[in-house]
Symmetry: C2
Subunit: 472 residues, 2 copies
């Protein structure tokens, strides 16, 4: 062999070489860009992707997938990078497919209360764009996530108790399959009973079955009247019982959020909520016609009073309401600010609402026993809450943190719950999946994965732990 | 060969012979029983099943499927037999799996607003059983269908505009796969982002991917206050515009049903609604807190008045409300009674609500051009309506009826709609599926079917037209 002969190209080199001909300016192998695409907001940075491809259209995605399929190169979709379960971590020699330039509103149909957007648009961008129409998209996970990412993780957040999650608010999609083939799922209609529900199959599939490029979303009229309030309690149980009774009573509350005394102390410092005390707290939002809102408010005040609530403070102006909800949205950063050098993870357990008090009490015992600092907050109207656990940044600290996480998840599963209400599985929750779903359901999920992506190029190693696949 | 040697048993004979050992009394090969299980409420009776097996537990279903899988015998689930698209028609040499004895309420969790039921229970039976708790299950397709059948066809009906369809109201299931293996999907929690949404995959799968045996359902508090009313109009357009504007305005109406002048004439005669005129009509139901209901009613009256509504008649008592809604539920039988000797089919088109007026106008032109009698009614708050078409019972009549059906479906698909809002595909809508979903989406559906049921024993020939399956 001649010594001038270069080594054969690896799969990813072949793919990049082919892509450079038509998409050269959209490909980056710069170290800082690859580093940005190596992790979400989770614990660990992992290995860097071989390259980042900034796609601008469904055709671009199709071209990239077609080549990656041919050369068996892993592809990991990347939106805003807000995942906290390791979803966007690429394998070595993989391509990070960045959809953040796909921000078009493809259709806006105000008369049908729907729109079609590209997957890289964020909900904030969408809502800013359509505000003058009197409509909005309600699913609100807090962070500035892309709508594609929200679909891929079946996101929800503070408004799910009234409007549902992404599952209930996506009418259809454009999806690029592993081979590069483009399909449309669902449509514009409110309901249909024709064929398998492919839209729901891709929602929550975390980029492992196909890449979502366009989304048909339901929209809602901005409520005629909105009221927001805060109520503090002497004990966690009083706060949780208030939220549980509201749901059992059937109150159509728009949001009901819980923050424990640790979280409140952090949020008071971070968001300058000096009028409040570091006590267990509920934040409420009510919306609808003015009379309906008054009815909800009166019923809620009565339930809170019976449970020892220390009085309601009303956010009377839109500015005051925004300030309150911004503090809630910044809660993660407020808890983070307790100790900037600490490792932080967030649990995301959800249980039937009648078990919420028991789970939170148990989790607080676990926290006390662990000796770690932890703040609690959550979407208690759904039975979903987060424990933000802080620990020293060391292997030992990390082990203690994961042990506490496992204890709390174990309690949730024992109560018929789920290990993740809205953050997804990614890598972080893989170990709990069989305990939650059972071996049979997981074997069916694996069979679906093999069918849609037999070469295993789509976000490998995420969502499904290894094991047997169902054979019919 | 000896002439005393009997012919080898066919697959179904082998299966029945094995089942008789343990389930003998649950198997029927009586002609009248087989005839009852040969059709739903659709046009045609088809061939008889070889036998009917009355299963009483998930284990029974597993035993039957395991044997049928081994011997490649087709299995068609049967609930109440109310399908009108040919879902329950068995192939020759197939087994009809009757789940109507599986009527247990397995769990009732009023504090979490959920319950778990066996698939053969009807929603009426469930609601009668839990009425004293103040809770109810809202999805209401009209007929006395089983909850399993309602899952299998992704049913909805009059209350979907407020409460959603089966898709939004099932939290989890027990499903028996083609091999007889039993899995659980979903759970009791309100939301979860862990794993593929198997529950949604089985909802609407029409018995082609697995047999649903248990269902975890969401329940709701009975509304504090309910108001029902009727408003008549001089023209169809006025009635439809009223319904469309209510939805665009965001009114949280509980039901809004349209009946055209032909349907009204039939219903007046059938249900003794002598106070009403054969005019285009809307039926409304509002529910919630008393102040909220008053708000909805005032807004609706104003919209109807602006669109030429001829005044509201209120159903002030529960008895009067029941009478009104019973008349709506009996609309199919009222239209049927126009001519008992006629063939009847029902379209089930749905379109984005802004296109509903155009579709209904077009459908009325098609009806006039066809010379056939047809009554229209529907869940116009969702953009979904039915045309009950009557024709003489002859091959020529049948051909004219199907031509009219195709014309109306064609209009709906051209407007971005679906050929079936809630009746499912079965056999009746097979021909429209590719036009509605595209070849790509259908190829994925076929791949899923092959994965879940490679031997093709589960309700063969339904839901999916033949063609290529996606190969990743």
């Amino acid at each position: 062999m001649s010594d001038t002969l270069s080594a054969p190209m690896t799969g990813v080199e072949t793919v990049l070489s082919a892509l450079r001909e038509t998409m050269g300016s959209q490909i980056s192998t710069v170290a800082s860009v690859r580093e940005e695409h190596s992790h979400g907001e989770a614990l660990d940075a992992s290995c860097l992707p071989a390259a980042v491809v900034f796609v601008e259209s469904t055709d671009d995605v199709s071209r990239v997938l077609s080549l990656c399929h041919e050369h068996r190169v892993p592809v990991v979709a990347f939106g805003a990078g807000t995942s906290i379960e390791g979803h966007v971590t690429p394998p070595a020699e993989g391509v990070s497919l960045d959809l953040s330039r796909m921000t078009k509103i493809v259709q806006f149909n105000p008369e049908d209360l729907d729109c079609r957007v590209q997957a890289g648009l964020t909900r904030q961008e969408l809502n800013a764009h359509i505000r003058d129409s009197g409509l909005f998209f309600p699913v609100d996970p807090g962070g500035e996530a892309t709508l594609g990412g929200m679909c891929a993780t079946r996101a929800s957040g503070t408004a799910a108790v009234k409007y549902g999650t992404m599952k209930e608010n996506v009418l259809g999609m454009t999806v690029v399959l592993a081979t590069g083939e483009v399909i449309r799922t669902g449509g514009r209609v409110r309901k249909s009973s024709t064929g398998y529900d492919l839209t729901s199959l891709f929602i929550g599939s975390e980029g492992t079955l196909g890449i979502i490029t366009e989304i048909q979303l339901r929209l809602y009229g901005l409520p005629e009247s909105i009221a927001a309030a805060i109520c503090q309690f002497n004990t966690v149980d009083e706060a949780i019982n208030t939220a549980v009774e509201m749901i059992q009573y059937g109150l159509p509350v728009a949001r009901v959020e819980f923050l424990d005394e640790v979280q409140m102390a952090a949020s008071i410092a971070f968001s300058h909520l000096d009028e409040l005390k570091p006590l267990p707290t509920l934040l409420f939002e009510f919306s609808g016609g003015p009379a309906s809102v008054r009815e909800q408010v009166e019923a809620t005040e009565s339930i809170a009073r019976d449970n020892g609530g220390l009085g309601f403070a009303w956010a009377d102006t839109p500015e005051e309401r925004t300030r309150l909800w911004k503090a809630r949205h910044d809660a993660f950063w407020a808890a983070r600010a307790i100790d900037h050098s600490a490792l932080v993870i967030s649990t995301d357990c959800i249980v039937p609402i009648s078990c919420l008090g028991e789970l939170i009490d148990g989790a607080r015992e676990d926290i006390a026993a662990s000796g770690l600092r932890a703040a609690m907050l959550g979407h208690v109207g759904d039975g979903n809450f987060h424990t933000l656990i802080l620990t020293e940044n060391s292997p030992k600290g990390r082990a203690r943190l994961l042990e506490l996480d496992r204890n709390i998840v174990g309690r949730a599963l024992a109560l018929g719950g789920s290990c993740s209400g809205e953050h997804g599985v990614g890598i972080g929750k893989l170990e709990f999946l069989e305990a939650e779903h059972g071996a049979g359901a997981l074997s069916v999920m694996r069979a679906l994965k093999q069918t849609m992506d037999p070469r295993g190029i789509l976000n490998p190693g995420k969502l499904l732990p290894p094991g047997e696949a169902y054979k019919g």
